[in-house]
Symmetry: C2
Subunit: 475 residues, 2 copies
């Protein structure tokens, strides 16, 4: 094994993401450690879980070991929930026990801005490198690796998917996984890496470039410590897989906040733009946009152009949705005459039917289905966007029409190969469960769902630009 400055930067990351056994250090009954044990159990971790606490006893049906050294079997991953001052001793024990990675929930290091915290962090890094232990954090939530039953939150999905998330903030990691889960996203590997004293974003990007389980890499980054290496690694990664990055700390005061959060040097926003653009990474501005890009890269079918057939909405909602769509660079061509003819032939009477784009397909299920299929098969349209705005209708409490429309889309989607995206927006907060169920139906049909037409258009535009930059002859 490589040690010291020559350590291979992805060394032991396999063991961290797929440990055979996990020890939780500081796992008393009323500690953060207890919740790590609970999360591992809830996530179906199959290997041994070893709670460690000097008081001993039992925790969640498991015997508590008084020290790491007391554990008979090997330990691949240790999770530290003990005070910062005790961590150097723990690193020493980990080295002796040949623990491969130590993930540290423990805070109180360089992020405090105090010399003592910084010195303590330097000390554990030196000890870990000498001892061949990789450090994750400190001041982080650590690893969520659903294929292997590793998690730091009990309610995260147990099934895995193709998205990796490299997230400097633990709170944002939790928020993002929960938000993405509602929208059908499942993860290959998520890592909250905090102060990044040893394992950092560049190591993780390098690792994920080779990871067969990961098809999309997303990241929330407050700052990097070695900009040159980051640029190089990002370039290699982005050449192989799409990369989406939310960079925070872009303002002077945001950077100061980042520094007191994860001791990050945020760096100039202009430099970041140049680095991300140069590598062909997609840059986003909010957590919601980051999830929108996960949904888009995972679920949106290939898009060949910008000619939109828009359905749904209703008067004023359609006007606003049209503005949002056109502002994002799309066009809404008039309904072609052969489509109009085909549609009119489906109706007993065309009285009052206004065949414009956007179109309100507020008709019988059979006619709505036939019309949606006709529009999706027409060479004049590149994609369909559906705008479902709940709360605009005066007297139908559940806006029943959007449920019927969902039937149509779920039925027509496998019959065509054009891309479809759906925006579900609602003002009826007391009906949230109803919309959640509707979202789930689209998610199960693998139709990408967004929270507004503006969000959908922004995401599809970024997706198109990503592919245009790769496909263009001049590139």
């Amino acid at each position: 094994m490589a040690t010291g400055a020559n350590v291979k930067r992805t060394e032991h990351l396999d063991a961290a993401f797929a440990p055979g056994s996990v020890a939780v250090i500081g796992a008393g009954p009323a500690t953060a450690g207890r919740f790590y044990v609970e999360s591992l159990q809830a996530s179906g971790f199959a290997g041994p879980i070893y709670p460690v606490h000097p008081d001993g006893g039992q925790l969640l049906g498991l015997p508590i070991y008084r020290s790491l050294g007391d554990i008979a079997g090997p330990v691949d991953l240790a999770i530290s929930c003990i005070p910062a001052r005790l961590v150097p001793g723990l690193v020493r024990e980990c080295a002796a026990k040949r623990v491969k990675a130590l993930s540290m929930f423990t805070s109180g290091f360089s992020e405090t801005g105090r010399e003592t915290g910084r010195a303590l962090e330097d000390e554990i890094v030196r000890m870990a490198r000498e001892g061949g232990v990789r450090l994750i954090g400190p001041n982080c939530m650590g690893i969520y690796s659903p294929r292997c039953g590793v998690s730091f939150v009990p309610d995260f999905p147990r099934n895995a998917g193709g998205v990796a998330l490299v997230c400097q903030s633990g709170g944002n990691a939790i928020y993002l996984v929960r938000l993405a889960a509602e929208r059908g996203i499942r993860f290959s590997k998520v890592i909250s890496y905090g102060n990044a004293c040893d394992v950092n974003e560049s190591d993780l990007f390098e690792y994920l470039a080779e990871d067969g389980d990961t098809s999309l890499v997303t990241a929330y980054i407050e700052g990097v410590k070695d900009g040159g290496r980051f640029q190089e690694v990002l370039g290699r990664l982005a050449a192989r897989k799409p990369v989406v990055v939310l960079k925070s700390g872009t303002t002077t005061e945001g950077a100061r906040t980042a520094s007191s959060h994860t001791s990050s040097m945020a760096g100039s926003d202009r430099v970041w733009s140049a680095v991300l653009d140069g590598a062909g990474a997609v840059r986003v501005d909010t957590l919601y946009q980051l999830v929108d890009m996960m949904v888009t890269f995972q679920f949106l079918r290939p898009v060949k152009g910008r000619r939109v057939a828009m359905v749904g909405g209703g008067g004023g909602a359609s006007v606003l949705a049209t503005d949002a769509c056109v502002s994002a660079g799309f066009s809404l061509p008039a309904i072609p005459s052969d489509v109009s003819r085909a549609m009119r032939s489906k109706l007993d009477s065309d009285a009052g039917l206004i065949l414009t784009n956007p179109i309100e397909l507020n008709l019988s299920p059979e006619v709505t289905h036939a019309m949606a299929r006709t529009m999706l098969q027409h060479e004049g349209f590149d994609l369909m966007l559906a705008n479902c705005v709940f709360g605009q209708h005066p007297w139908t409490p559940f806006d029943v029409w959007f449920d019927l429309f969902c039937d149509t889309i779920v039925r027509v989607y496998p019959e065509v190969d054009k891309p479809v995206a759906v925006a579900i927006e609602s003002v009826l907060t007391n009906q949230e469960q109803h919309f959640a169920a509707l979202r789930r139906r689209y998610v199960e049909a693998r139709v990408p769902v967004y929270y507004s037409m503006a969000d959908a258009c922004l995401a599809v535009d970024r997706y198109l630009r990503y592919h245009e930059a790769r496909g263009g002859a001049s590139e």
Copy 2:
């Protein structure tokens, strides 16, 4: 009464907003008219409600009249839910009955883009002007006037407030009232005016400038028919009351959609910006921003500057909130040393307490209250922004801390006179009722609440610019 081209443009609007009696034309058991009757009953309309339908019978406990002429008493407001081709006859009956205003849910006029529809609309306008009847719509929801129990939706709040909404789209009017209601906004008068064949946005602005019940005028406009008059009326209105406008149809295709929605000529976006800026109106881009400005003008205390004390959040959420706040033109000064001293004196130990701005006041209720008060009373801060992001915490399902923090704000707010704004953002859609209850507590304390820190900062920035433009010596 003025008739013909000399009609006073605000004539009869008093009667439309405060009718002594209402007739609903086309009020059979399974018609839109039925829902108008239901809405009037649910909203506590005190005068007589007359359903009219050729079949006669009973509806919701009321006798159905076979024609308008059969009603014995006077009728101030009539609501048309009959087909377009029957409307000319109805206008004639209204004139004979001396009905003051006819609001038309009926569509099928100029918005169809067909010559027949346009001609029909011209005809009813001519007849109404000759007969002294004001027309609202057609193709609209009409009037919500809670002080007088007039409504087009049964679930709108029955109590009134100071905000007027002039909304060309009925769906958007419904969405906006429901959204605003959740955030504590109550209305003086709301009007969905559709095709604006007679009563238009300029008439309504002229009327609302004089309306003692209205302190803030908000509007969703797809297009105006007489730009010169609009500019003049808007100038007079904006000189007296704040005006917030969402202009849609800003793109070519959005304008086409607006035309097929309410037959509006959308007009150049550049011209609109010049007109709104010139008058000192606040322009917004989305329905959500329109409600954010209602909340801000109604609830935010006067703001003297841009120095923010930010509380709440947590690591990554605070970094993003800081970026949003600074990007919107605010500053987050360091915690002044006298505040730090005062805060440290409240604590047994300052171990681990990082006194930065944003600050996580995750302490005992007494200490949190004392700290919030100290910060709010300090001359170094102009306002406090609280960032409550649910779903970032790993193991506290209800993010209990934000409830405790709400206790603090509700308690400290009456003790100080500085402005406070709260952003409540959540990823936990299954807990919507919990957040709704939390929002209600702030709303009841008259603390302005937003859906994200970025939304809050954008709204407060617009509010400050509005006042700066008026207060500046050079204006």
